[in-house]
Symmetry: C2
Subunit: 257 residues, 2 copies
């Protein structure tokens, strides 16, 4: 949907403005207070939550559609955003239920019909800086909010599977690519970086092994600054060496062939 | 299209049997005589070549559509096949040209119309053992053959870009994942494995560095056998340690966190 369009205006033209059969779903990861968070919508008259998603306009690329969707839900324009897989099970949504859901929230059955077709959905994941996001629901939702991964409750359609696969992708990328630049503030402490890794992996890591490994990648720049205003011994601050970070994104953490 | 269907039968039902707007293209890599090869179709009345591709039937997943397409083109059933990106530029094909191309090969304009719609194409790449493939053209093509990467000539639509992106994906995977199991015969020599890496990377590698690095991954099993019937000193044969290979596919070559 376009910004500031009413639900009625949107539904009136949805079959003309958007491509049939193709949708997209965004798994938006943020990191706050040592926890990995995801952004979910609470749809109207539906207890289960949903990933932010959308459709592709006639003259738009998938990437532009995902950027538009994320801007509408988060207020952010420059987001680390990546396609990770297409979800195409013909039974990923039940056509009858889908139209029913919309009728239940008062949408005319003729207009709800468009949503009953088969959709193949392209999964994107986004890494965003939690503190910069201003969540905003879409026209079919009551709320848009951050949830802890393990407190999210069941999601609609195949969204649980899409979320799991995005998390799998992120976890396996930790093994060969740097992660963190988009999720952390510019300056961070080593314990904060370790907590991010632990939150993504869902397990505790040994402090000394973590530090040995992360330093061996050569992507950290140690700053001549300490975190102030903390109770214990003030920890040193680090930032990413962006040139080396970008190189490792391209060649992997081992430096390539 | 289904096996043994005529062009007329296929075109007659294409708009009823297949989803609108969604296609797939397969970049099929093989390795032969020290060269990386790709499988291309020579379309009827068209000088440029094309990647093997297809459409998605109403009740089929994308993966099943790709498996079906590859089986039709290669005769192979169990192929290493992976989605790598969706191509969705609204100008990736010129609608007028697309219908014109089909009219030129004698297809009724009304039936050619279906092909003039906008298609978003899901790119798959496949790694196959060259010697097992029996290439077979599709209904819109004269021939289906292997080509050396650098002798392929220009491709139709955005297929050059799709091919380049598949090759980029394969090259970057060399930096963190094992590659080779699907492309090499079960037993191979170290020079053969090095040639495969060189063919994918498009550059020569130092023999000693290559061997040091590849042994450090611990994915090779040295066999108590030599290649026989060769002119020079008979080289030792190796195979992949499948358990370690699979683990490295999942965790990356470094062993993971």
């Amino acid at each position: 949907m376009k910004r500031d369009e009413s639900l009625e205006e949107w539904l009136d033209r949805v079959d003309q403005d958007y491509l049939a059969h193709i949708s997209l779903d965004c798994v938006v990861f943020g990191f706050h207070a040592g926890q990995l968070k995801i952004l979910l919508l609470k749809m109207k008259h539906e207890d289960r939550r949903a990933l932010p998603g959308g459709f592709v306009m006639n003259e738009e690329t998938l990437e532009d559609a995902a950027i538009r969707t994320l801007k509408e839900r988060t207020g952010l324009e420059n987001v680390f955003l990546q396609q990770f897989r297409v979800f195409s099970d013909p039974r990923r949504s039940d056509p009858d239920n889908r139209a029913e859901d919309l009728k239940r929230i008062g949408i005319d059955p003729g207009k709800a019909q468009w949503f009953a077709q088969r959709f193949i959905s392209v999964g994107f994941y986004a890494l965003v800086e939690f503190s910069c996001v201003v969540p905003r629901p879409d026209l079919l939702s009551d709320t848009c909010d951050w949830y802890n991964l393990d407190e999210r409750g069941p999601l609609i359609l195949d969204h649980d599977g899409i979320l799991e696969e995005a998390l799998d992708t992120l976890q396996s990328q930790l093994n060969y690519q740097p992660v963190g630049y988009s999720l952390l503030p510019r300056k961070f402490t080593l314990p904060e970086l370790q907590k991010l890794y632990e939150a993504i992996l869902g397990k505790k890591l040994d402090r000394r092994n973590f530090q040995r490994k992360i330093f061996s990648y050569g992507i950290l720049r140690s700053l001549d600054e300490k975190r102030t205003g903390v109770a214990h011994k003030a920890p040193y601050l680090y930032s990413f060496d962006l040139r080396k970070y970008q190189k490792a994104l391209k060649l992997g953490l081992q430096g390539g062939w």
